[in-house]
Each structure stands twice: as C-alpha cells, then as structure tokens.
C-alpha cells in the first residue's frame, strides 16, 4: 500500500534526503520518498502492518530530524 503524508517544518533539503534514506531502511518499507519541494512523504509498505510500520517511520523521523512533524490522518 502506498500512502502520502504531509510534513510540517521540513526545512532543509539534506535532512529530507537523510529522512528518506533512514525510512527506506526500516523493516517492512518497500519504498519511500521524501520531497522537500512538495513537503510530502510517500511511503510504500506492507498492507497488513501499515499502521505499525508508520509508527516506526514517525519514530525514525523524530530521530533524524527532530523539528519535522508528520501529519498522520
């Protein structure tokens, strides 16, 4: 399943790149892309565990870029 999330306060392009790298390495994530331009993140992950994986993604982003917030809806 592929889902797109809005990001708040993503204010450096290099951080976006690092977030993307880190998310891609998470277990269960097939692909991820963080766009600094659109301030959006697309995550492609296993259907069954999507919500659990998203929790990991949020944790991972907090670690890489503490100021940036993911809008989960």
């Amino acid at each position: 399943m592929k889902k797109t999330f809005k990001l708040i306060d993503l204010d450096c392009a290099n951080c976006a790149r690092k977030m993307e790298d880190a998310i891609k390495k998470l277990d269960g994530v097939n692909d991820a892309s963080v766009s600094f331009m659109t301030q959006k993140m697309t995550v492609d992950a296993d259907d069954a565990r999507f919500d659990a994986i998203m929790k990991d993604v949020v944790k991972c982003c907090k670690r890489v870029e503490p100021d940036c917030e993911i809008v989960l809806k």
Partner: protein, 613 residues
C-alpha cells in the same frame, strides 16, 4: 515570511549590532570572550541545540554539527569576532535560502493551482456552498461566471465560454451549451451553468492531474540520484580530510593554530546543501512551468529523458493529422467549375451516412431540397447512382465510372477520391483526406532544427503514409501497421537508436506503444484517463507544437541542473584548495557553503520564468 523566519531575522539584527558593539568596546584579553559570547548564543543557540540533539540520536555529520565545530574551534583559537560573524553569516544565508525556496515553492504551487475550493450544490431549489468532495455523482451544481468548474459533469442548462488554460495552456475559450460535457479545472467565463455531476471528486480530471503532478516529485531524475549518492560520500570525506589537515601538518611543523584553523574552514565548506537543494528545485520548477502550459510531466526522470531525446516517433492519425476526414482538394474536369463539382457530389451523397459523404456535405455547406434527388441506388463497394434534377449522376470510385464507360482522370494527390460523372460526362473528382493539423509541419521542422530524427507510424496505406510524411517533412515512415505491429516496429527503432526515443500518440489504441518507448507522450489527453495512465508525459491539448515546447522546457531545466552541479562543485573545490593553502578565510568558506546555495537556488528559479515559445 513565516514566524520562524521573522524570528531569525530579528535575532540576526540584534546579534549583528551586539557583535559591532563588542568589537568596539576596548577590553583586552580573555575578558573579550563573554562580550562576544552574548551575540554568539543569541544567533547560534538553535544550531548548538540541534547539533547536540542530533549527536544524541547518532546523526553526527550534519551541517549544524559542522558549524558548531567550526565556530567553537574559532573561539578556542581566540578568533572571537570571526566565530560570531561566521555563525551570523550562516544563519542569514540559511534565512535567505529558506525564503527563496519558499517563494519558488509557492509560485510553482500557484502555477499548478487548479484545485476548486467550493461547489454550489443545488438541492430542493436552494443553493448551498459545499466542499467538492461532498458532492456525489448525479447531484446538480450551479457554476457562476468567473468560478472554477469543481467537478466533471454534463451541462443541463445554460451556455458559457470555458477558459481551459489551467488544463491545456490554451488561451482561446471553448463554448459549451446544454448537453455538452465539461471538465473540472476549467473556468466558466460568461454564463451561468447548471450541471449534473458525473464523477465524484476523486475521479475527476482535476483530481487526477493534481495527483499526477504531486507524485511527480517522487520519480527522481538520474541527476537527483547522483547528488544523493554524492552527498552521502562528500561530507564524511571532507571531514576526514579536515582531520588529516589538522593533525599531520601540525605534528610536522608544530604550528597547531594555523592548521587547525584551516581544517575548520574545510568543515564549513563540507555541507552539500547547495547541491542537495538546488537540483530538485530545478526539476520541480521545470515540472511546474510545464504544467502551466498544459504539459504534465510525471517525474524529473522523464524531463531528463526528454532533454536527451534523439528520435521522436509519431502516430499519424489523431496526432499529426486531425483524425477526421475532410475535403482536401477538388479536381474538376476542363470546363467545369469547382463549385459545380462540389455541389453535384454533395447532392449525390445527400442520403449517405458514410463519413466521406458527410465530409462532402460539410464542405459544400448548402441547404439541399430533397425534391431534387430521386432514384437513389447505392452500389456497395463502388458508390452511388442518383438522379439530380432529373439528370443521372454517378459518384464513387474509378470502377463505378469505368463500368458506365466513363474514363476518370487520376488526381495528383493521395487520399480517398470520389469521382463524379453527370449525364454520362466526367465532371471531376473530389479528394477526401485526413488532413495534417495546421501546426504539424511547423512542429516537425522545429524538431529537426533541434537535431531530432522524426519517424511516423501508421496503419494507413503506404501511399497515404508517404504522402503525409513528405508533406510534413518527416525523416522516415512505416505504413500498414496493425496495432500489434506498432510495438514490434518501435522495438526495432529502439534497437537502432543509441539516444532516447520518444513516442507521441493520442493514447486511443497505442497504450502498449506508449509504455514501451523510453518516453511515452500522450496528446489531446483532456479527459482521456487511459492516455493519462499510460503516458509519461501528457500534452493536454492536441497541438503537436506543444512537443517542442516541452522539449525546450526539459532542455532548459537540464542545462540549469548541469550549471548548478558544476558551479557548486567548482566553487566548493576551489575553496577547499584555497583553504588548504591558507588563502581562504572563514568568511570565504561560509560563502562557498551558503552563498553558493543561494545563487544555485536563484538560478533554479529561472525555470519559473520560462515563457511560451
């Protein structure tokens, strides 16, 4: 400016003033340190905090960390003013950078802003303003002049001119009236329309386009991936080089202050920000600029491929030609006027529903009195025999006339010829053909001027294919292809060319070809879901000249990307060298980092200025 940006601005001003004050107060020795630490913390506390937090999270080599090491190092070396100044310069640069990026992002978003905000829902005679997402298919909405069409639908009542510029980039308005389909994203200009909604919002044209453009950023171009990989190696390598520079010469010469200072300069230059930020911005600008002209690009990678395209393969019908039959030319026999020939032909074909008959009647344009026509007899596969005003008329192919002992003259052009005879005498012939679009020849010429080979594929006969190719000036033509043959033919062409191959079709029956080509371009796709799905680049209207437009945008975009890569790497390399030799100051180093980033962003924002050619 956002609140965060305003705060940074105020902090910069305060700390700048304090820095000047600290430099002017005549205090000697270590006492100067607290004086300079005040402005240093005012401007740098968030950088210090972030560096600390990131190290705690195991993220070492980020720009905050590098700035902290560099400025703290300068403080230790006793270069107080420099430490504060560099931090200040860095923050001001970052501020400028974030403003520039924010501005370009907003203007691109504006270019792509076709999302309707509200819909006027008509229920029980009352109009309520609702979110377009709440409207269901079958609901009735009212669109007033000046409003965006929020959802796809069919006009029940009213007439208006629609501005489709947001969708197609085409500025001349399109008229709609009762019974016509209208697409979301257009703007109604003149009249009030009552519309029955046919699709829910998620399925509308506008939602699909928005989705496509927003997801474009996730398909990254090769240049973007290169930068990402480069950045991964660049920062650690420069940091190691800095460590080596600080240690080895110092151990040999014993001059620690000089070499540590040079190493600190290295650290400031080591942030890959300019590249990492400006390359995606250029692609984003290219995609945004293109969409403002009705060209939808599904990703930066396709922009990159389009710029390198060496061969363009066209489908004929509907792409280069109009896709409908119309009267191309009249060849009257000697002594017969064109008007007489056309009128006779049109009258003879008055009752036929064949597309050729329709195009003859359309070309004639007159009002016929049915009483003039009698004894209509269709001769299947050959034509028609009728009596017009009591005189026998034949209209059809050569065989029909020869059977009656009349010898027709071959017209000098290819197409479907309708031969006409009246009262046993040859009147002439009318050639019906699928005419090229008015801009097709110009578009082909423009492509050739850019050094691109043009090939046409068609299911039509060899003769028709050759004639159209010659008229438009195409380099090559492959005719008599069944839809499946087109894929085989394209694969052969792909094997022949070393460069990128683009295929342009109307998406009606060539979806497999579109997806097989390096770049699939669908044309005239307004409202055609299949084409939007299958293609990599979508030209919203059916003007072949848009193709050169798209190509120019892609080339300009790639040129800016290359400029930025060369410029940023060049300046950084130069300052690394100068820094190692002791010729660059810390100020120069900050310029090499932040200044270059700002210049690269400004260069990337040129993409937004791209004018229609």
């Amino acid at each position: 400016m956002t609140r965060k940006q305003k705060r940074t601005l105020v902090r910069s001003l305060v700390s700048g003033a304090l820095l000047v004050a600290a430099a002017l107060i005549p205090v000697e020795g270590l006492w100067r340190l607290p004086l300079f630490l005040i402005p240093y913390f005012i401007i740098g506390w968030d950088v210090l905090r972030k560096a600390a937090v990131n190290i705690a999270h195991g993220q070492v080599f980020d720009e905050n960390f590098l700035m902290c090491i560099a400025t703290l190092g300068a403080l230790v070396l006793g270069e107080y003013a420099e430490a504060v100044g560099v931090m200040l310069f860095y923050q001001v640069g970052e501020l400028f950078q974030s403003c520039a990026v924010g501005k370009s992002r907003r203007s691109i978003a504006q270019l792509m802003d076709i999302r309707p905000d509200t819909a006027n829902l008509l229920r029980d005679g009352e109009i309520t303003e609702v979110d377009p997402e709440e409207v269901a298919p079958g609901d009735i909405i009212v669109i007033r002049p000046g409003e965006k069409v929020p959802l796809d639908g069919v006009v029940l009542e009213g007439a208006s001119a629609l501005d489709t510029a947001a969708l197609t980039g085409e500025s001349s308005p399109r008229d709609v009236a009762t019974g016509d389909e209208i697409l979301s994203g257009c703007v109604s200009l003149t009249g009030v329309l009552t519309v029955r909604v046919t699709k829910e919002f998620g399925q509308t044209t506008v939602a699909k386009i928005l989705d496509l453009v927003e997801n474009a950023a996730s398909k990254k171009a090769k240049a973007e991936n290169f930068i990402t990989k480069f950045a991964r190696w660049y920062t650690p390598s420069v940091v190691i080089a800095a460590a080596v520079l600080a240690l080895i010469p110092s151990l040999i010469t014993g001059d620690w202050v000089v070499w540590v200072h040079r190493a600190l300069i290295f650290l400031v230059i080591s942030c890959p920000c300019a590249l990492v930020i400006s390359i995606p911005l250029s692609f984003f600008g290219g995609i945004g600029g293109a969409s403002a002209q009705g060209i939808l690009v599904k990703g930066g990678n396709y922009l990159e491929l389009l710029a390198d395209t060496k061969t363009v393969v066209f489908d004929k019908t509907g792409t280069l030609t109009r896709g409908e039959f119309s009267l191309a030319e009249l060849y009257p026999a000697p002594g017969i006027s064109e008007a007489e020939l056309l009128e006779t032909a049109a009258l003879a074909e008055l009752y036929s529903s064949h597309p050729i008959a329709q195009s003859l009647r359309r070309a004639w344009g007159g009002e016929a009195d049915p009483a003039r026509i009698s004894q209509v007899r269709e001769i299947p596969g050959h034509g028609i025999s009728v009596s017009v005003d009591g005189v026998s008329v034949l209209a059809g192919n050569e065989t029909l006339l020869r059977q009656e002992g009349i010898e027709p003259t071959q017209p000098p052009m290819t197409g479907t010829a309708v031969y006409v005879a009246k009262n046993g005498a040859y009147l002439g012939c009318a050639v019906i053909a699928d005419r090229p679009k008015p801009t097709a020849a110009e578009a082909i010429a423009a492509l050739k001027a850019r050094g691109i080979r043009t090939v046409m594929l068609t299911g039509d006969t060899e003769a028709v294919g050759q004639a159209v190719a010659a008229e438009l000036g195409l380099d090559d033509v492959r005719a008599q292809l069944l839809p499946a043959d087109k894929v085989t033919c394209l694969e052969a062409l792909l094997a022949q060319t070393d460069g990128v191959l683009a295929y342009v079709g109307d998406g009606v029956n060539d979806a497999p070809v579109l997806s097989r080509a390096d770049v699939g371009i669908a044309m005239g796709a307004m409202g055609s879901d299949a084409a939007i799905e299958a293609a990599d680049i979508v030209l919203m209207d059916d003007d072949p000249a848009k193709l050169t437009n798209a190509m120019d945008i892609s080339r300009k975009c790639l040129r800016i990307v290359r400029e930025n890569i060369v410029f940023a790497l060049g300046v950084k390399g130069l300052f690394l060298l100068l820094g190692a030799l002791g010729l660059a100051s810390m100020w120069g180093a900050v310029f090499a980092d932040v200044g270059v980033a700002v210049l690269a962003i400004l260069n990337a924002s040129r993409m937004l200025l791209h004018k229609r050619t």
